[in-house]
Amino acid sequence: MSFRRVIFFVVAGLFFSTAGAAEEFGDPVAGKTVYNKCKSCHQVGQGARHRIGPHLNGIFGRKAASHEDFQYSKALQRAGRGGLEWHIDTLNAFMENPRALASGTRMSFKGLKKAEDRSNLLAYLRTFSDDPANIPEADPTATPTDHDIDPAILALEGDPEYGEYLSSECTTCHQADGGDDGIPSIVLWPEEDFVLAMHAYKNKKRAHPVMQMMAGRLNAEEIAALASYFAALEQ
């Protein structure tokens, strides 16, 4: 869970909990049709300018009410100061019911009740924001999962073969021969220490952005598989 989401829960958690669960990107082509409901007030695309509402280029990752050359409602300005940023979850909630998210917004639109419409519109608008392939720091285009895996693979718990596959992500940076210039060695660690350290990164108790990210998406079984692989190496 990223920092911006933590802020968002503080600011708008109440409203957020009422929003539909459709926080996925749908079909951008269908979203273009849905956008017809927005275009009398909002422009998007090359040369888009502010009209009745602000233009929507680069909306993903943008702080709310942050175009200096647009006069926002006090409600939206307050939300922006409070840390509201536009990501898939917040945009979804705003599209469903603008006034639920910012009660004083001047956006006189009742909202899109159908989750499918919102997800298609989100996909269409996404095409006018930074693409992570070109600007790697751009907003995520998938919602984080805990990487649940199917039962057949879960049965591999502690399987060193799965651990070996997973370990190939470690050896891009950590040298397999135990070298430790700039990046610590991870060979010959006791299994228990390894598991503790990985869970500490996963829970953000150990501070390192790369490791928090890498450990963050491993589930307990996967960490166990890695540990069993590394343990087998020691013998």
Partner: protein, 419 residues
């Protein structure tokens, strides 16, 4: 109705089970041919050979005997590395059981499943992995083509081009002008041109402090923009003039004979001109007819091409979704691909795809920054899940540690690729 992720993984596991009867060929072991010995191809070849323990015949086709990494080639320009520090041979791969063939792949016969070699003959394959990197789009920068690469180097494939650009940088007249024509999206290594500007500025600050740098850029913004601009202001004040899309940075032509660059109608005399044109997949991907436009679309779960289930494309040449074109990305994709190819050919277990990337950039001595993300395979593409980026205003200690980390990563990834 669409398949959700869980069902999709279940389906691919079932598919793997169907394929798990090993494809025993009359002539013996299944064959994998890999074209291109960079971060994608070398990693895939090494992992398939290592993990199949001799059950798969792996051949790598790579024309050069010495491979110079594009990553860290900017550090060579800046004087932080010698050219030999970024050069690697293929001895480790050969020792690891990969047949390394130094030749050009010049054609793919998808029906006969063979790859033709420039030196004559052809190699049969059951699975073909293409990792050819990039080529340049013809006519992308008016006035420039490959015949001008000596006068105006791209230095975007490392090696002799890097050495040429360095030599030109070293012989710049006092107070001269270094120009860069930056590429449009998408291209190899999003922060690469801007790390290069930083390294050139560092070199000039030491050796030619009144020299100027002009960047003509067709983009309105670029990767790590706030970090680079902060760094340029801190370390190289007044030296770098970045002209983005808004000020006509995309309206550029060059004259390699006159050594001029024309930016939005204004002619500038330059002493060195680094032209980085628009890019496309390396040529063999076109020859195999697996491209659509400039790049080769692939399936996110295993990097197989949309055009041919027995041909895989890794790294820069692929069109896969959210991952930036980088050596780290190619290395990550290669491991997912190797696992899937091995599963298809020998029935070994196929695990779910997990991808990651981190790009480090050096702005000045001990001033390193990084950006990274994790990715997952969806039905549609490789999708970004989570990420991080260095902050502006970080302490010198953090930046130094980040630079040292990048040094460790370099040793780690080159060993991971080449053995």
């Amino acid at each position: 109705m669409t398949l959700n992720r869980r069902q999709f993984i279940g389906t691919s596991a079932a598919m793997a089970a169907v394929l798990s009867a090993p494809m025993v060929k009359a002539q013996g072991k299944p064959r994998v041919v890999v074209v291109g010995g960079g971060a994608g191809g070398a990693t895939a070849a090494r992992y398939i050979a290592k993990d199949s323990k001799g059950a798969i015949d792996v051949t790598l086709i790579e024309p050069t005997r010495k491979y110079y990494t594009c990553f860290f080639s900017n550090l060579y320009l800046g004087g932080f590395k010698e050219i030999e520090d970024i050069g690697h041979t293929y001895g480790g791969l050969a020792a690891g059981g990969v047949n390394v063939v130094h030749d050009w792949a010049v054609g793919v016969d998808r029906d006969a499943k063979t790859v033709a070699l420039a030196g004559g003959g052809s190699l049969p394959y059951d699975k073909l992995i293409l990792s050819p990197g990039i080529d340049f789009v013809d006519g992308a920068v008016e006035g420039w083509d490959l015949s001008a690469q000596n006068a105006m180097p791209h230095a975007y494939k490392a090696g002799s081009q890097s050495e040429l650009l360095k030599a030109q940088l070293m012989s710049m007249p006092e107070g001269g002008t270094f120009a860069m024509v930056a590429p449009p999206n998408p291209y190899r290594c999003p922060p690469g041109p801007y790390e290069r500007i930083s390294m050139v500025a560092h070199f000039l600050k030491q050796n030619n402090p009144t020299a100027k740098i002009i960047v003509a850029d067709p983009k309105p913004k670029f990767s790590k923009m706030a970090l680079f601009q902060e760094g340029w202001a801190n370390h190289y004040e007044g030296m770098v003039d970045w002209i983005g899309e808004e000020f006509g940075g995309g309206n550029v032509s060059v004259d390699p004979n006159a050594m001029t660059v024309t930016i939005d109608g204004e002619v500038v005399n330059v002493d060195v001109c680094n032209v980085i044109p628009a890019m496309k997949a390396g040529r063999i991907a076109d020859m195999a007819a697996v491209t659509d436009g400039n790049w080769a679309p692939v399936n996110a779960a295993d990097m197989s091409t949309k055009a041919d289930a027995d041909i895989y494309v890794l790294g820069d040449a692929s069109s896969q979704g959210d991952m930036p074109k980088s050596g780290f990305s190619a290395n990550s994709q290669a491991k997912v691909c190797a696992n899937a190819v091995r599963g298809a050919l020998t029935g070994s277990k196929v695990f779910p795809a997990k991808f990651s990337n981190t790009c480090w950039s050096l702005i000045a001595p001990n001033d390193g920054v990084k950006v990274g993300a994790t990715y997952e395979a969806t039905l549609e593409k490789i999708a970004k899940v989570d990420g991080f980026i260095s902050k502006t205003g970080e302490s010198a200690d953090v930046r130094k540690a980040t630079y040292e980390e990048s040094e460790g990563w370099y040793t780690g990834i080159t060993t991971d690729m080449l053995g």
